[in-house]
Symmetry: C2
Subunit: 228 residues, 2 copies
Amino acid sequence: MKQLFSGLKIGVNKDLYVKDPESSALGKKIVEKSIVLIDEIGFDSFTFKKLGAEIGSNESSIYRYFENKHKLLLYLTSWYWAWKEYQLVFSTNNIEDPGQVLETAINVLTRRVKKDSLTTHIDEVLLNKLVVNEFSKSYLTKEVDKENKEGFFEIYSRLILRLKKMILAVNNDYPYAAALASTVVEGGLHQHYLREHFPALTDCNENLSPADYFNFLVLSTLKYNRNG
Amino acid sequence: MKQLFSGLKIGVNKDLYVKDPESSALGKKIVEKSIVLIDEIGFDSFTFKKLGAEIGSNESSIYRYFENKHKLLLYLTSWYWAWKEYQLVFSTNNIEDPGQVLETAINVLTRRVKKDSLTTHIDEVLLNKLVVNEFSKSYLTKEVDKENKEGFFEIYSRLILRLKKMILAVNNDYPYAAALASTVVEGGLHQHYLREHFPALTDCNENLSPADYFNFLVLSTLKYNRNG
DNA sequence: GCAAATATGATAGTAATACTATTATATTTG
DNA sequence: CAAATATAATAGTATTACTATCATATTTGC
């Protein structure tokens, strides 16, 4: 915990970059504009050449920060989950009732991101959209097991396990705490995507948020009594 | 319904292919071996050139069946969901109790696929793995809205809506029927993926299946009584 | 059984991608 | 101010994702 909150710098696995993008103006620009460009044209058509053109820099300079665009995606999504973890811990810190803790956690993890600006160069609203649209692509690869061993999904995993703990604090006998935690986080992203592109496949809209849905879902399954 | 079950041929949107792969030996071979090859090397490294080499055919011949590998993926996943829809309707056909119908549906949609072989050339077990690993990539694109309008996700959407109806048949007041239906189907894929690559993030294993988890989740949220 | 139509195969070519390597030019630092 | 470091520019390679053309099988219709 200590390392995560010292100085408010969001820390990600150092093997995700060649040179720390936080260490220079160019690095920050790469991160900042990659979020904008990926949001604009999608990760699939995104290239370092296009990004270079966008920021008035050269392709080869970007390669000195990130090995390839996959690593950049891992960097951006790790940053996002680290940021969410920070929010999660911070916002539940002085709540005592486990039910309240869990509700707050679900809200933090499934709410649409509003303007927040922890940093000057990262637009969290856009980054949230990027995660909704592209996060799955970061782990649905043939290299997932190798990269998982290298710790590239550590922050995300830790976040799910934190939620799992909060679930068990409400009902220690619940047999599907990890599955439920992962359902909430992944499902949260998915419901936001559906709302945008397949509105018939979700009930979430302006009046009913994914947070409402998941709060009810979790509450009901944790409090459910087979005999009553 | 009629068109779906006439002759047992699984029907997908005709705009997904240039020439119907079911109409020739080469077409069937393309479909058959693409499933094997995508499963082997992953969709990202899969190319028509490699597939051509694999089946002793030419890249250019494959282009005469599918416009590009994205359309092929849409074809394969549509076929899968059409097959699941068939199983869903067939297996719930003569059940009267809505609770039983729903349980059967959840089992069909979240169970790991066992050998079935409706056709000679499609290996449903491999196709199920392919869907777990690659389905998200078929809709997480910038073209999703356009392709959705063209009906490329029609079968999938219809399947979710069928499940939604079954949910409402159990509890007509449930306010999140569509969200729950999509959670079960997508979540089913996701839990299988986690089991394989992130076992700490799910409770599903040899003894506890995603079907068990989702049956309990759905049952509890549908039967939950706020006041008791 | 043969001509015409159709399907498949082979080859070539293009623009873009995903890099690597090298060299030149800024910029920073000691 | 020299040395070190960062960035930019250019070039080059293998692969991808196609398109086009032409040759050769195979099928079919008479």
